[in-house]
Chain length 234, copies 2
């Protein structure tokens, strides 16, 4: 029972290719893995599972790892049970969670993560590692049976975290306002992960990686920053 997760804010940072900034990390993370199983259910922009898998494949091929879409297996539960590594890509968290429930994959996925399977999540694929998907930024385009997620982290993720833009004239809520609203209903801490940041989860140790700080929201106290390299205690 020791977790082994890379939980990233985004697959892609500005001006760079898909997963490019993460490749050295992934090379180490998946060091003994020849093939990973890719979960494309979040379908960013509504692209097909095949097209999305091809994008993941291309990135993983650059570090000599094959990626096979979970939809290519006749039995997705078995695909997860037998996988040497897993990657859940970003897109729409509501649809991702909906498919995981519909296909009854939540329990096996949870087992895999808690049993040390090397896992990569980006954006929606990171959201599902938290306790609930209630701090997703996505549009509720489908109605999943529940907002509960895998609970592989003792908090929730807010990926693509954005600071308030100084001088912004838009009146929609800032990210911080939205997370504060969440804390009217929940005591679950939230980690705002900026693009280019990721969490490294090795057994019980959770470390912030990448060049940027992350912003931590706990109910009832002022949000605060933690620096890259810091260990998270919850």
């Amino acid at each position: 029972m020791s977790k082994n997760l890379v939980i990233a804010s985004t697959s892609t940072v500005y001006g760079s290719g898909y997963l490019e900034y993460l490749l050295p990390t992934l090379q180490a993370h998946f060091r003994s893995v020849k093939e990973i199983v890719f979960i494309p259910y979040a379908r960013p922009g509504g692209i097909s599972y095949d097209r999305y898998t091809a994008i993941a494949q291309k990135a993983f091929n650059a570090i000599n790892i094959n990626a096979k879409g979970i939809h290519e297996f006749s039995n997705p539960t078995e695909a997860i049970a037998k996988a040497d590594g897993l990657f859940t890509g970003g897109g729409n968290t509501f649809e991702l969670v909906n498919q995981l429930y519909k296909k009854e994959l939540m329990p096996i996925l949870r087992d895999a993560l808690f049993n040390g399977l090397p896992y990569l999540g980006t954006s929606a694929g990171s959201n599902i590692c938290g306790l609930t998907m209630q701090t997703s930024n996505d549009m509720p385009i489908v109605y999943p049976p529940s907002f509960k997620t895998l609970g592989a982290l003792p908090f929730n993720i807010n990926p693509h975290y954005q600071d308030p833009i100084e001088g912004d004239t838009h009146m929609g809520e800032t990210r911080e306002t939205r997370i504060n609203e969440f804390h009217n209903f929940s005591t679950i801490p939230v980690i705002g992960l900026r693009e280019g940041s990721w969490l490294d989860v090795s057994d019980k140790t959770i470390t912030l990686q990448g060049g940027l700080n992350a912003r931590v929201f706990e109910k009832g106290i002022e949000p605060y920053e933690i620096q890259s390299g810091a260990t998270l205690h919850f």
Copy 2:
């Protein structure tokens, strides 16, 4: 059976007070009304019903109309049934819809809107007039029993509509990408209402008002703009 609705993108435009830009419109819209019932359930930033109602009250007092919070009535169903006018304020659409279902107010609210009661919605209060809340921008901080809303409009609203920002380096989805994702699952048209725009619904005629264009998203065709003053046909 004739509707009488003002459905606004936002309560507040940049640099102006709460509802200020809408006051001349509201004066005409609620011309024979002495008191409106205010629905504060969306609780922007998690403020209390009392505090939120005081804000609405102050704005309506400027046009000599009283505003009473629905939570001040012992029976909210009766409050809606007997109201001369209604205003649902913005905030979190998930919590607003959740409360409307929990308090079993959806049917009576729907009846009121379909029977010609003068209604104002802003942001979340506009979202609920569409067929579903699936094109809300809000964070899913609570799990409502359904995403179905009042269906007083034959389409969905996306309030606070934002155009892609040129040169933006943030990799989170644009509003247009999110609405296109919705159309992988639904044929419901979506009206992207920019801040400062509103829809005037008089009987069966829906007109775009305010200084700006709105953006229309229909499944399978390129999004297009409609001009202020245009009538919407769906």
